[in-house]
Amino acid sequence: MTDAMRAETVTISGAGGDAIEAYLAQPLDRSSVGAVVVIHHMPGYDEQTKEITWNFAAHGYAAVCPNLFFREAPGASPDDAAATARAQGGVPDERLVGDVAGAAEHLKSLSSSNGKVATIGYCSGGRQSFLAACSLPLDAAVVCYGAFIVSTPPEGAPVTVGPIAHLAKDLSCPLLGLFGAEDQYPTPAEVAELEKILADNGKTFSFHSYEGAGHAFFATNRPSYRPEAATDGWEKIFEFFGRYLSA
């Protein structure tokens, strides 16, 4: 565990060269560290996501969470920003990729960087983590219960959201997937389908589904929280990053 760390709001260059807000956490007592881009979920750039970001710093990684709703609602509270972005159709996939690319470059520019970067996302962020890993040169990616990778969103979903399993052939890095066996979005069948697609494309991946857990089992502030699954999941995340983000 890191003994000294710093967490703060910074400005990074995102998609289109836009200056966007991000939350950066980094250990102060070590050099040559791997880095993680934390992709926040639809409820927004919130306290829970910032906790996840500084948790990575506490474990010796630089981590940055770009505010994906900054353009729609600069300076707004996380829930107001999420509502505004939702009313405007959400985050376009292309823009998400550009923001993650900018975040990765920012992490690599840190003096402590060992040059390795991963993405991690939960729920809608899980889908976006997969998207980023298929669109950018990354060293590792983690998908936590990301829905609509293989399946089509229901009628009424914004046009920016669609299945992206066809991008699997371009996955640039090893992929860790963590899912709840009782989840309906994605279902175990959809998880199995994604596993087959990855295997057919010769990709390096490791998927785990937790019995007794459904969607959002990592969320400590929701009824869906499952301590055993979350504890084991975090252990798998740090083992995975230890393997692929070390110099």
């Binding site: 979920h41 639809m42 409820p43 927004g44 919130d46 729609e72 609602a73 707004a76 509270s77 996380p78 829930d79 107001d80 920003a81 999420a82 509502a83 505004t84 939702r86 009313a87 959400g90 729920c123 809608s124 219960y145 829905a147 609509f148 969103p153 229901p154 009628e155 009424g156 979903a157 914004p158 959201v161 989840d183 309906q184 979005y185 459904g214 969607h215 959002a216 929701r222 009824p223 869906s224």
Partner: protein, 99 residues
């Protein structure tokens, strides 16, 4: 899960939020993760005026049973309002579904 579904409508009226009373122009209705309510998914309503900024929002997060009860109460109130008063207020105003 993030359901992504959102029904957006134009509305006319006023709402009171953190910034006090303000004119409303839009509403979003969706069944998805709440921010505050102790549930995995709630029926969420955002009453908005985007032109005033993201902070001009009245937000509700209701369990499905409460949301249906509210919807029925709304319809009942409209159905039992004095016809003359209702007609005077509904001529050519609000409530256009966008998506």
């Amino acid at each position: 899960m993030c359901t992504y579904q959102t029904t957006s409508i134009a509305v006319t009226g006023s709402g009171k939020g953190a910034e006090g009373w303000f004119a409303l122009s839009d509403a979003s209705v969706y069944f998805d993760h709440p921010v505050h309510a102790a549930a995995d998914h709630t029926l969420n309503i955002d009453l908005l005026n985007p032109a005033r900024g993201p902070g001009f929002r009245v937000a509700l997060e209701l369990d499905p049973h409460s949301a249906r009860a509210l919807a029925e109460a709304i319809l009942q109130s409209l159905d039992t309002a004095p016809p003359g008063l209702l007609a005077a207020e509904t001529a050519g105003t609000g409530g256009t579904v966008r998506s």
